[in-house]
Symmetry: C2
Subunit: 452 residues, 2 copies
């Protein structure tokens, strides 16, 4: 394949063709593009142009394009379309993608659109999917799948599969159900390729099949599929009946979003935002953490004011020069400890007792701290600082970072145990609390040692 | 499925069975487990017990277990196995997994092992894969795939496919090649299901097929497969000949590692480490960033010393109480800006001109900054601070965070343009440089305004 490359030139060309209403040229040009590429192009056009293209192209392509667009762009385009036009697009989509789009519409609009979907079975499936939380297996699954009854013979099975497969983009597994629609097992396409065609389903199916429940969390489904290298997993309802199927491409998105979210939280950005989102969205995602940081900073102002008197003493006032250093070290160590724990919790690799973890984190920090303390003493020596002053700073810094590491380790673990997403504890939250703790401890220990 | 749950009880039970050498019970118990679960169990056992289990179980299961283990655990177990034993395990694995394991061995050991692999074709394939960089398409691909010649008829095709499919875990696509092994197109299994069996391959294959080159970067392959929702992609060599195939499960790992790596870098952790890695590995990953932070902190000590004289002046010395706040705000804003750019660059959503981005980031920071500045003035009012003092702090903080946002935005973009991973610029690097810049700017602007 010559990889598709979006260029300013291409966009200009398209804009000119739209302006001159050269529909044939546009149709020819877009006929060659993959829907994911069309979506990229749409993101570069203005609303009017984008709507023009969507209405011009055939709906089997535009439906996929719509599913691929960013939510905010899609919302604007859908506003320019009638309920009937939307319904036609959704008719072309798999139920899971259709349900995701409908879920973004207002309640009245959604009902209008659903009423206009021609294929009643499809509409019913979409309505069923709307019942589920979007972060659950039910919210991820599609109704499209290939299933056969255990009481059929292979002949009937193959015939039925051919019909069902028409609606299914990728078959993966053939699920076997009993007369009550309960999931019994699976057949692989490969088995069908390599098995004689004259066998009874109940004799050949594999009764061992991984499955998830409609209520399982998306995150858990992702972990299961990753661990067992599954490319598709059937979803059963409360009664064990086959309700849908989740494929790996949906899970890839969950994994990516989950990892991106942890990173954003670590950087003090709540909500899913992207570089190209609006300023208001970006402000909402970022300002709260900055305010938290500010409050923390004002807290440290109080603490430092408490030590104002030593400013008149030339031997001790140098401590104030070290506050940014101490705060930075406390923050850095805290963020390191918490990031590694948050990632470990997300990937299920945090095992063993809390005591072991405590011993390990403290040892690690003592090793790092000793190196840093030596550097501080050497720096003090080069600066001709009195040795007891340098030692004070080195010792308090060691204490501060050990405490910071413990806070960074245990806050995520505690949050996780309480069922709160531990990623919230990384980033500004840890940095800010460690700043305050760090500065307080630093001056308090210095006071104890130097005796001011 | 009843999900597998690792428990201390289960581990104890297994350890007792190993101690009493109750092989039958162990074989029965492990016979039920998925290899991914066995790998989890192995991680909890000591080396001796782990080796015992690996040697006890059948090699079709243990080979998968070995491929699933953490590198360091696997290394230890392989040391306890002969070259012949290892070769037997690798004979059971797909070429990509086998090559990954061999790549971890010493050169001599690897040659010994390869010489012992019975299936010469398999050994040859593995040796070929070892040629490629592990972060390239060649390093990710497996040799196992199903391919047919365009000149075959469907009858021959199906016969050949049955033979080939025996070696392939999941078939996905059937690739079509010409007599020179050049990739011509693909057939889908679904097409085969729904097409009459009496057709010529050259008449039915789809000539449009996405592919990657052996030298393409793993990251690029991941992006392509994600964008086009591919579950498998063929890999061609320099001459366009079909060389291998990459499946989505390998790409899931790439995506996850990439996102995790960005997060770790943001938190000041280089190298792929996990919570359960050794203290030495963790120190190597963390200490360099702490030293960087320390050097930055010592830099700010210098800057602050330059303003020592104002400590004797009760009207101005309060500025020192605000240094941690200023440093924290500069760090927070810088990390936010850089994280959003780094993620945007990784996901290819950073478009448009640099000037637009500059205007946007500055506007965003001015909005956030105004809110924060108001809070500072209100705080100063409550504290009975002189108004010009509060305003000075508010204004300098605004300037500091605008600069911090610009640094946070443009350093990643510049690094990216120079081909350096921009994620390196988030976290401690940005925090540290912003600390220094921030504190300097803060005092400098305060000096201009207050005129000391």
């Amino acid at each position: 394949m010559t990889p598709f490359k979006l260029s300013d030139q291409l966009i200009e060309e398209i804009e000119l063709l739209i302006e001159s209403k050269n529909d044939t040229a546009l149709q020819n040009m877009f006929g060659e593009f993959h829907y994911a590429d069309v979506a990229e192009i749409i993101h570069e056009l203005n609303l009017e142009e984008a709507t023009y293209i969507i209405k011009l192209l055939e709906s089997d392509k535009t439906s996929d394009v719509l599913a691929e667009l960013d939510e905010d762009v899609r919302e604007q385009i859908l506003e320019n379309m009638s309920a009937k036009e939307i319904a036609e697009e959704l008719g072309e989509l798999d139920t899971d993608d259709a349900a995701d789009i409908i879920a973004e519409l207002s309640r009245e609009r959604a009902q209008e659109v659903i009423a206009q979907i021609e294929d009643e079975e499809h509409a019913k499936d979409i309505v069923e999917l709307l019942r589920y939380d979007e972060n659950s297996a039910g919210g991820l699954m599609a109704k499209e799948l290939v299933k056969v009854n255990e009481n059929w013979n292979v002949l009937k099975c193959v015939k039925e599969m051919r019909i069902q497969a028409e609606h299914v983009t990728r078959v993966h597994s053939i699920y076997v159900v009993d007369d009550d629609e309960k999931l019994k097992g699976r057949l692989s396409l490969k088995d069908l390729l390599t098995t004689s065609t004259k066998t009874q389903i109940s004799e050949v199916y594999i009764p061992k099949v991984d499955y998830v429940k409609v209520t399982d969390k998306a995150e858990e489904v992702a972990k299961l599929m990753q661990k067992y290298d599954l490319e598709a997993v059937p979803v059963v309802d409360e009664l064990g009946r086959l309700a849908g199927r989740i494929t790996i491409d949906d899970i890839v998105d969950v994994i990516k979003e989950e990892a991106d979210k942890d990173y954003q939280l670590a950087a003090g950005i709540t909500q899913e935002v992207e570089a190209d989102d609006s300023i208001i969205e970006l402000t909402r995602a970022r300002l709260p953490w900055l305010v938290l940081g500010l409050i923390g900073g004002l807290g440290s102002v109080f603490i430092l004011e408490g030590f104002e008197e030593i400013m008149v003493n030339p031997s001790y006032r140098g401590l104030f020069f070290y506050t940014p250093l101490i705060a930075a070290m406390a923050g850095n160590v805290g963020v390191q400890s918490s990031a590694i724990i948050v990632q470990g919790l997300a990937n299920d690799v945090v095992k063993g007792s809390l005591l072991n973890r405590l011993v390990k984190e403290v040892s690690l920090t003592l090793i790092n701290g000793s190196v840093l303390a030596c550097l501080i003493v050497i720096f003090g020596f080069l600066m001709d600082n009195p040795i007891n002053f340098s030692l004070t700073i080195a010792i308090s810094m060691m204490t501060v970072i050990v405490v910071a590491a413990l806070i960074g380790t245990f806050i995520p673990i505690i949050l996780h145990k309480k069922g709160i997403d531990p990623a919230i504890a990384t980033g500004p939250f840890i940095t800010t609390s460690n700043d305050i703790f760090g500065i307080f401890l630093f001056f308090y220990i210095a006071k104890l040692i130097l005796g001011f």
